[in-house]
């Protein structure tokens, strides 16, 4: 808990390196491995969603990872949120791939009518989608961590709540009191948010 507290409340004058920065700037082998581990699955997923052929995903993903590390210096927080930037990088790599492949129907399916590269500064539908996917991805990673922390019925209660089940029904289903349902839900949610914030601090450079 204290660890997260420090990350959330940490004073700004203290230089804090995100995982991405350590992976890129400090030539930290371990950080790089970790970095790849965290982003790769997401990039694979997005590329697959965008229709990149299965056999090509590995290559394109490699391109994305390289771009991420190479362009990090160019990332300007004041101009775009990290996930906007991330989606741009992924989209650009996919775009370049499709161009090379000249698979027009794919191109059209994903991007709609052809746009100029400059137009990418504007968030398009695909950007928004990627951003949403990133949010879900981080939340999912966080949830994986949360699941390690809780025992008993806490997670079950929380997920039933996510499904929109009212507390009374959750209570009936789990055999807990309504008060316990509220307490467990609140506890898991709090932990989830703490984990999300911790992951954001790790994965999204400032």
């Amino acid at each position: 808990m204290i660890r997260y507290f420090v990350q959330i409340m940490g004073s700004s004058d203290q230089t804090r390196y995100t995982l991405l920065q350590r992976a890129c700037d400090l030539h930290d082998e371990q950080a790089w491995e970790e970095f790849v581990g965290h982003y790769r699955r997401f990039i694979f997923y997005i590329l697959n969603e965008m229709g990149v052929a299965f056999g090509d995903i590995e290559d394109v993903a490699q391109q994305v990872l390289l771009s991420l590390t190479k362009d990090l210096k160019g990332y300007d927080r004041s101009r775009a949120r990290f996930r906007t930037w991330l989606s741009t990088v992924i989209r650009n790599a996919a775009l370049a791939h499709f161009r090379k492949q000249n698979v027009r129907q794919n191109y059209i399916r994903v991007f709609g009518e052809e746009q100029s590269l400059e137009a990418m500064e504007q968030p398009s539908e695909i950007d928004l989608r990627i951003e949403q996917e990133w949010a879900a991805y981080v939340a999912d990673l966080a949830m994986t961590r949360v699941k390690d922390v809780f025992q008993g019925q806490a997670i079950e209660v929380f997920e039933l709540g996510l499904d929109g089940l009212p507390a009374a029904e959750v209570a009936e289903k789990t055999g807990l009191s309504i008060a316990s349902v509220y307490t467990l839900r609140k506890r898991v949610k709090k932990r989830l948010y703490l984990e999300i914030r911790a992951l954001v601090a790790e994965l999204e450079p400032e």
């Binding site: 699955r41 997401f42 694979f44 997923y45 949403q132 996917e133 990133w134 949010a135 879900a136 991805y137 981080v138 939340a139 999912d140 966080a142 949830m143 997920e159 996510l162 499904d163 609140k186 949610k189 709090k190 989830l192 948010y193 703490l194 999300i196 914030r197 954001v200």
Partner: protein, 664 residues
């Protein structure tokens, strides 16, 4: 592992990173709750109503605890605002463990003042004196001392209460005492003139309408408080403390009757001495003297401070004479102390009082409530005897010695089977005290002899043998047979020696079953080696049955089982008034008992055994002449047709329902 997104979680990311309202609520729900609380106090219930204020139980949603809140009564207007605020400020200025703590004061949404304070249990000193479960005198005196502490502290701060009464003193069963209701309290020297001219309707207290400037509660007020021009100062509080002490001792308020009668009695200071009010309570003279001094009509004659009053009670409880006792007596007592060896006695008695308390405590733990209650009156008797009669004649001193020796005997009788070692230890102290008071008290010597016998210190018993006419003279048969026995709590005979002694005791003097049970109880309790005790138990059974080899015991500590075989009407408990009436097999540890008695068997003899299984199937006739407590019993095994289930259930009481198994 391929990643599959969970769309339900997408929102969590935005909430957690952007920290909008929902995000904050998820991340720090308690903070959100605190920030969002509109009303700080809610769920009021009225606890009580006074002349000026109403006290509510209310929930402080900011600190999340229940507090007591005082509000000005709805029918009291702005004329009372400052009176109310001053009470809050004055009380808040007092910081003492026995004075109610003010948390906060303020003005509510309607512009009316309020203050909050500790919310305590709902028992006041009045309840503790006369409620359904009144506290004992000692406890009440201890409460009283804490009240004195609080008042002494307030006086040291220049504040007088002026309305001390049992209803204004909260006293719970855990020793917390709080003096409340400082509504009439004053900074000493504060002018009162301004209040004299108040129109009737604005007088802060209802009873002010009685007589212009009467404030405070009738019945606990000093004479000067019902007189217009008299000075009311800290000595008025001393008088009220005297009234409270009077009530504590007698159980009734010092002034009773109609309002007019009480007023008149107060004005004239007609105090009936506590011992006259309640002669049946045996109120010590020393305490009565304290009451009368505190309630003196002339403030000059009262205790000069609450601290002095407190010290008097403390001295009394510690066993010293109090200053309030008349000087003549005091001088005489000093001479008496010089003449006699009383200081040593006092030292002993202090020990005895402590010991008695500890024995009572042990007994209470053992749920021997009935026994403890009977003894408590004895302990109190000893204390009062000590307090009141120590200054009396030599003859009375001897009588006290006799009473203490009797107490030792009673204590021994009550505790010997419950806590043998502690009981013997405490009884010895009582005997020593009795001997210190009267070194040739026959009864004390008899008790010493008896204790030596129980502990098998026959050497010691022979140093002080009983007189030939004593009822215990036949103990000497045993003592003389084993004059070398000099055992004690620390040093016990070997198990074979113990069982050998019991076997021979049967030959020498077969008529002392209870003594023998006490010897074994003490031996068993003070023995630290874990050897097989069954030879001693077998010898004890022989003694009780008056016959050798009355029963065979097959004892297996490993399986926690015991089989008892006998071909006669064996008895397993001593049913006279000096015995424990509990089963003699209790000196062995086992959970399962099989009884194989060819002849008649009395299951009532198994009283209080901690067994889970009882197998009676190999018994001849079962005679249920006593109900029997087997608290842990879960299973009884019988032969088909041996005894009806109804009879078993009626005769055996266990903590839970036990099963009855029929077995050939």
């Amino acid at each position: 592992m391929t990643y599959k997104p969970d769309p339900r979680l997408a929102q969590a990311y935005d909430e957690a990173t952007l920290l909008n309202e929902e995000g904050l609520e998820g991340l720090c729900p308690s903070y959100t709750e605190l920030a969002g609380e509109g009303t700080r106090f809610r769920d009021d219930t009225l606890l009580g109503k006074g002349a000026v204020k109403e006290v509510y139980r209310t929930f402080n949603s900011h600190t999340r605890r229940w507090v007591a809140m005082a509000r000005l009564r709805a029918d009291r207007g702005p004329e009372f605002y400052d009176l109310f605020v001053h009470e809050a400020w004055l009380t808040a200025s007092l910081s003492h463990p026995n004075i109610i703590t003010i948390h906060d004061a303020g003005v509510d949404g309607n512009g009316r003042p309020f203050f909050t304070m500790d919310l305590k249990g709902d028992s006041s000193l009045a309840d503790r004196v006369a409620g359904p479960a009144p506290a004992g005198r000692r406890e009440l005196l201890e409460i009283f001392m804490k009240v004195c502490d609080a008042v002494a502290y307030a006086h040291s701060q220049g504040i007088v209460h002026l309305d001390l009464k049992p209803e204004n003193i909260q006293a719970d069963a855990f020793g917390e005492v709080l003096v409340c209701d400082w509504g009439l309290a004053k900074q000493v020297g504060e002018l009162e003139e301004g209040e004299y001219e108040l129109p009737n309707a604005l007088r802060p207290l209802d009873n002010m309408t009685l007589m212009g400037q009467i404030k405070g509660s009738l019945g606990f007020m000093a004479p000067e408080q019902v007189m217009a021009d008299a000075v009311k100062d800290h000595r008025s509080d001393i008088f009220a403390l005297g009234c409270i002490l009077h009530l504590i001792l007698t159980g009734v308020p010092p002034f009773t009757g109609t309002e007019e009668q009480v007023l008149e009695a107060t004005r004239r200071c007609e105090v009936v001495p506590p011992r006259k009010v309640s002669p049946e309570r045996h109120i010590p003279g020393a305490l009565e003297a304290v009451v009368l001094k505190a309630m003196a009509r002339n403030p000059e004659d009262r205790y000069a401070s609450a601290q002095l009053l407190r010290d008097e009670i403390s001295h009394f409880l510690e066993g010293y004479s109090t200053l309030a006792e008349k000087p003549g007596f005091f001088r005489e007592a000093r001479l008496f102390l010089a003449r006699n060896r009383i200081p040593a006695t006092i030292a002993f008695l202090a020990i005895v009082t402590l010991s008695v308390v500890s024995v009572l405590f042990i007994q209470r733990i053992q749920h021997q409530q009935e026994r403890a209650e009977r003894f408590e009156t004895k302990a109190e008797a000893v204390e009062i005897l000590y307090q009141d009669e120590i200054d009396r004649s030599e003859q009375e001193r001897k009588a006290l010695a006799i009473k203490m020796a009797r107490s030792a005997s009673d204590l021994k009788k009550l505790g010997i089977f419950v806590r043998p070692v502690e009981t013997v230890r405490e009884a010895r102290k009582l005997v020593a005290s009795a001997e210190a008071l009267d070194d040739d008290s026959a009864l004390a010597r008899l008790q010493r002899f008896s204790l030596d016998c129980i502990t098998l210190n026959f050497e010691g018993a022979l140093e002080n043998p009983v007189q030939p006419h004593s009822g215990l003279v036949d103990y000497l048969l045993l003592v003389n047979a084993f004059p070398e026995f000099n055992y004690s709590e620390e040093r016990r005979p070997s198990i074979s020696k113990m069982s050998g002694f019991l076997q021979q005791a049967l030959e020498i003097n077969p008529n002392r079953q209870a003594l023998v049970e006490r010897m074994v109880a003490f031996d068993y309790a003070s023995r630290s080696d874990g050897g097989d005790y069954s030879p001693v138990v077998a010898a004890l059974l022989d003694y009780v049955c008056g016959e050798k080899d009355s029963a065979a015991l097959k004892y297996s500590p490993a399986d926690s089982t015991l089989t008892l075989q006998s071909n006669q009407n064996i008895r397993l408990a001593i049913w006279d008034k000096w015995g424990s009436n509990d089963c003699l097999l209790r000196f062995l540890t086992f959970r399962s008992l099989k009884v194989e008695v060819d002849d008649r068997f009395f299951p009532g003899d198994l009283q209080n055994l901690h067994i889970e299984t009882l197998d009676l199937s190999a018994c001849g006739e079962l005679v249920f002449n006593h109900p029997v407590d087997l608290p842990l019993l879960r299973k009884v095994i019988i032969r088909p047709g041996q005894v009806s289930a109804q009879v078993l259930r009626d005769s055996i009481s266990a903590n839970a329902r036990f099963e009855i198994v029929e077995q050939q």
